[in-house]
Every structure is written in C-alpha cells, then in structure tokens.
C-alpha cells in the first residue's frame, strides 16, 4: 500500500480526475473529501462490504415452496 503523509487541506490525486482531500483531523476522526467523476462510486468500505455480503447471501434462486410461503407473509391489509 502506498502511504502518504498529508495535513488538513492537503490532497492526493488519483489518476486524472479523482482528488481526495483531508478536510479536518479531530482526535481519532478524519474528515475526508472526495471529488470524483459520477461514474466512480464512492462508499464507506464497511457499508459497501455489507451490501456485497447481503447480495451474495440473497443471489441463489429460492425454491418455489419458499416463494409460495413468502406470499403468505403478505400483510392482511395492503397499503392504500
């Protein structure tokens, strides 16, 4: 891993169009600004990882019996 030392308001540039700026350091928290093209998605790593895990856990076809049973969970009174 490349390790760089930066101070508040200093940045690093990744490629041509991604800029990561250290905005504020307070105690054990660092506020970071990310400027990137819209096509580049930016997420907190643990949040992204949680969604990946949830997708992987849900990607297999459910047996028909389960799908039928799910229908029974349907609320008695659907929303208006």
């Amino acid at each position: 891993m490349l390790v760089l030392t930066r101070q508040p308001n200093q940045s690093i540039v990744i490629g041509d169009d991604i800029v990561i700026t250290v905005l504020e350091v307070r105690g054990d928290q660092v506020r970071i600004g990310v400027r990137a093209p819209r096509s580049v998605s930016v997420h907190r790593e643990e949040v992204y990882a949680a969604v990946v895990r949830a997708n992987q856990a849900s990607a297999s076809p459910a047996p028909k019996s389960s799908l039928d049973a799910l229908g029974a969970l349907r609320p008695k009174r659907p929303p208006a």
Partner: protein
Amino acid sequence: MSAGTALELPELVFEGGIPGFREARRFALVQVGDGPFGVLRCIDQPGVEFVVVPPMFFFADYEPEIDDDSAADLGLTGPDDALLLVVVNVADDIARSTANLLGPIVINPETRRGAQVILAGTDHKTQTPLVPA
C-alpha cells in the same frame, strides 16, 4: 407507481452491475404469483437472481433518499417515476426472512434502467426482518 402495478419488466439494464455482481448488467423482473413479491433474474449470469418486493408492503415508513447523481443516471425526475424494490433474503424459516433496506433497488420503468443505490447517512440495515419477531 401504485401498489397494484405488476412487477413485469423483460429487460432492465443495471449499468455497472450491482455490488458483488459487477458483471450482472441485464435483468428481467418477473412477478411471483399474485405478488407482491418478484424475482429479479440476471440475464447475463444464469443462476443469479434476487427475490424483491416493493418495500411499502412491509415497511410503510421507509422513504429512502436517492442521491441526485443516482437519480440522474437513471433518468428519474421525481420519486413518482421510480419503481422502488428491496432485496429479500429468503430464510429457511420464512418468517425470519429479511430485507436489505440499506441498498434498495431503484428502477426507472421508462428508461428500463436500474441500480442498487447504497444509501448514505442512514441507519438502515442490510438484514431487516420482513415481519417483527
């Protein structure tokens, strides 16, 4: 989109796939029985499919805020344009099935584009029970 709309869209494009399945770009949305559940079936990767449901059926207060960039990518101009779905993790004990409220599926039925939008700044979870324990 009203609650009565069938979950049937033959080909949807998820540009860039979905997290964990980056190559899964084209999906078909197929309704299960009379609904409200549907299956989002990947056309590019047979065997990859997700059970989905419009969240209003189980989470009446759930109103995720879709960021402007995601909405623009899908060609959405307002919340009423979107078909909102959540992915269901179907448990062996059906009553323990959960929904991913952190990463809702947002579809524009007009443009046939969809995305899984990871919500920012919320307390929503990836495994919220469909029915209270």
